[in-house]
Amino acid sequence: MIAALLLAPALAGVVALLLRSDRLRRALLVATALTHLGLVAAAWRTGPAGPPAAWLRLDPVGMLVLGVTSVLFAVAAIYAVGYLAHEERTPRPDIEEDTLFANGPEAVFTGCLLFFLATMTLVTVSQNLGVLWVAVEATTLASAPLIFFHRHHRSLEATWKYLLICSVGIAVALLGNFFLAMAASFGPSGSGSLVLHELIAGAPGLHARWLKAAFVLLLVGYGTKMGLAPLHTWLPDAHAEAPSVVSALLSGALLNCAFLGIVRAYQVLGAAGQGRFAGDLLIDMGLFSMALAAVFIVAQPDFKRLLAYSSVEHMGILAVGIGLGGGAVFGALLHLVNHSLAKGMLFLLAGNILAAYRSKSTARVRGVGAVLPVTAALWAAGLLAITGSPPFGPFLSELVIVKGAIDGRHPVVTVLFLLFLAAAFIGMARPMLAMVQGEPRPELPPSGHDRWLTVAPAVVLGLSVLLLGLWIPSWLDGALRAAARVVGGG
C-alpha cells in the first residue's frame, strides 16, 4: 500500500517529463491525483497498520497529514488543468513592470508537481527520522522549480531565497537528528537508532542535555520550512511569486509536512518527560509568529502576501496548540485540517482574481463581485473561514485551542492568542471585503469570467470547511482523537 502511494506519483512524474502532448500530461496529472486519493481513502478504511518498528508505516498523525495532502492535491490538480489551459504560451507583459516574461516548460511543471506529491507522501509515512529528513529536503527540491514557473526576476529571487533559506534550515535539522542519535547512544542499551518507535520506547534513557539541544535544532530547522517567525522570511515571497495553485499546495500541504517533523521530535521529548520544555518553546515561537504575522497583515498592499502572512499566523496557532498539550492538541490537529482546506481555497481564488485583473494590489482590485460572482462569494466566505468566524471549521478548532489554554491555566497565552486573532481578523477583513465590493477601476479593466474548472475546486474546499464547522464525521473525529493521543494530548 505504502509502496503504491509513493510509486504512483513518482513514476507518473517521470512519465510527465517524457510526454510530448499537453493534453495527455494534464490527464495524467488528474488521474494520478485521483488514484492517490483513492489509495489514501483505502488506507483510511483499513486504519493505521504495519509493525511498529518499520521505517515506513502509517501512524495516526501521518495518516491525518497524508489525507489532507491528498485531498488538497486532487483539488489543485483539477484547478491546474484549468489554469494551464488558459496560460498564454508566448511572452507576455509583466503585471508589475514593463518587461516581457514567459513560462517555464509545462512538462517540468507537471512533473515537479507529481514529484512534490511523492516526496510529501514520503514525509507522512516516514517513521525513521533520518528518512523523514531526506523526504523534507526532497520536498524543497521538488517544489523550487514550481515557484520559478513564471520566469521573471521576482520569481527568480523568491526561488533563490526559498532554496537557500530552506536548505540551510534543513541542514540545521540534520544536525538536530545527529544530536538526537547522540542522546540515544547513552546508557547500556543505547543504540543511536532514529526509528521513532525505538526512540520513544527508550525515551527515559535519553541524555537530557543532548535531547534538549536536539529539539531546539529540530525546531529551528523544520520551523524554517514551516514558516515560524522569525525564520519565515522565504514564505511570503515564495507564496506571492509562485503560480496560485502552487501557493495553495505550499501553504496547505507543504507547511503541514514540516510541522510533522516538529511533531515527531515533540513526541520523543514528551515520552522522555521533557514535554514541558518543548511545549514552552513551541508556545513562545507560535505566539511570536502570530504577533509578527498580525503586524504584517495590517496594511499589506498585496493580497497574495496577505494570505501568505495569514499562513505564518496559522502555523503559529498550530505550534501554540501542540505546545499547550492536553485538549488543545486535538484542536491543533483539527485546525491543521481546517487551515489547509480554507487557505487552499483562498489561494485558488486569488489565482482567479489575479488572472482577471492582472494585479495583486488590494487597493486597485475592485468590484470582483460584479465580474467574478462565484469567486467573490467564495472569497468572502473564505475570509470568514480563515479568520475563525462561525459557522466555519476554524472557529471550532480555535475555540478548542482557547479552551485548552484556559483549562491548562495559561491566562497570558489565552489573552495574547485572542488579541492576535482579532488583529488578523481586522487586518484581513478590510482589504479583502473592499476588493469584492464597488466597481472595477477604469484604469484596470478586468477580463474573463468564472470558469467551472477553476471555480469548482474552490467550491469543494469551501463546502468541506463549512461542513467541518457544523459537523465532524465520526470517522474523522476518531482519527483526530487517535492522532492527538499519539502526539500526547487527551
Binding site: 533520518g130 528518512v131 531526506v134 526576476h153 529571487e157 533563490w160 531565497k161 547512544s185 543504540s191 499589506q300
Partner: protein
C-alpha cells in the same frame, strides 16, 4: 594518509583559507579540498584500509560528489556568470579571519561542555565539526555572491557531516545515501538558478535582488 588528527587540522586550515579568500575560484577549490579531506576522514574513523565495504562506498561516493562533481558545477556556473572575485563582502576578509578565530575558541569551549557517550577517534573531531559549521553559517550571511552562498551552504553541510562521524553508531546506509543524493540535487538546482540569475541580472550579487519586500500603503 589516514592520520586522523592531521586530517582534522587540514580541515581547520581550509576553513581559515575560505574565510580569507577573495577569489571565487579559490573558494571553489577549497571547498573541494574539504570534501576530499572529509572522505579520507570517514575512512580514517573506520580503521583506514580495512574499513568495511559500506564505509568505502560512502567515502568514495561523497568524495566524488563533493570533490569532483560540485566543483565542476560551480566552476561552470562561474564561467557562465563571468565573475572572478567577491568584491566588497559585508564583512571584510581580515575581519572574517578574526571572526573565525573567535568561532574556533567558541567551538572548543562548547565541545568541552558536551559529554560524549564513549571514546571518539580524536578529541578534535567535535570542536572541528562545530567550527566548520559556524564558518559555513558565517559565509552564508557575510557574502554577497550567490556562488559564495552556495559555498557557505556546502561548508555548513560538511560541518554537519563531520559531526556525524563522532556518533558511536553509523546511520543506516540508505539514509546516508539519501542525504548525499539530496545535497547533490540541491547543489545541482542551485547551479541552475545561478545560471538564471546571471542571465537575468547580469551579475550574481544577491544583495541587489531586493525587489521582494513588504511595503506599507
Amino acid at each position: 594518509m589516514f592520520e586522523i588528527n592531521t586530517l582534522l587540522v587540514g580541515l581547520l586550515l581550509v576553513n581559515f583559507v575560505l574565510l580569507g579568500a577573495s577569489r571565487l575560484g579559490t573558494s571553489v577549490r577549497q571547498v573541494a579540498a574539504q570534501g576530499a579531506l572529509l572522505s579520507l576522514l570517514t575512512l580514517a574513523e573506520h580503521a583506514g584500509w580495512s574499513a568495511p565495504w559500506r564505509v568505502w562506498l560512502l567515502a568514495l561516493g561523497s568524495g566524488v560528489v563533493k570533490a569532483v562533481v560540485f566543483p565542476y558545477f560551480l566552476r561552470r556556473a562561474l564561467r557562465e556568470a563571468d565573475v572572478r572575485r567577491e568584491m566588497e563582502p559585508y564583512v571584510g576578509f581580515t575581519a572574517s579571519v578574526l571572526v573565525g578565530v573567535t568561532a574556533l575558541a567558541a567551538s572548543l569551549w562548547l565541545a568541552s561542555r558536551l559529554p560524549l557517550p564513549g571514546p571518539v577517534a580524536s578529541p578534535l573531531l567535535v570542536p572541528v565539526s562545530l567550527f566548520t559549521l559556524l564558518v559555513g553559517l558565517f559565509l552564508l550571511v557575510s557574502r554577497r555572491k550567490a556562488l559564495t552562498q552556495v559555498v557557505g551552504y556546502l561548508v555548513l553541510e560538511n560541518g554537519v557531516f563531520c559531526f556525524g562521524l563522532a556518533l558511536p553508531e553509523d546511520a543506516p546506509l540508505s539514509v546516508e545515501v539519501g542525504i548525499l543524493l539530496d545535497i547533490f540535487a540541491a547543489v545541482f538546482i542551485m547551479g541552475i538558478m545561478i545560471y538564471h540569475i546571471s542571465r537575468e541580472f547580469d551579475h550574481i550579487d544577491t544583495d541587489r535582488m531586493s525587489s521582494l519586500r513588504d511595503e506599507t500603503t
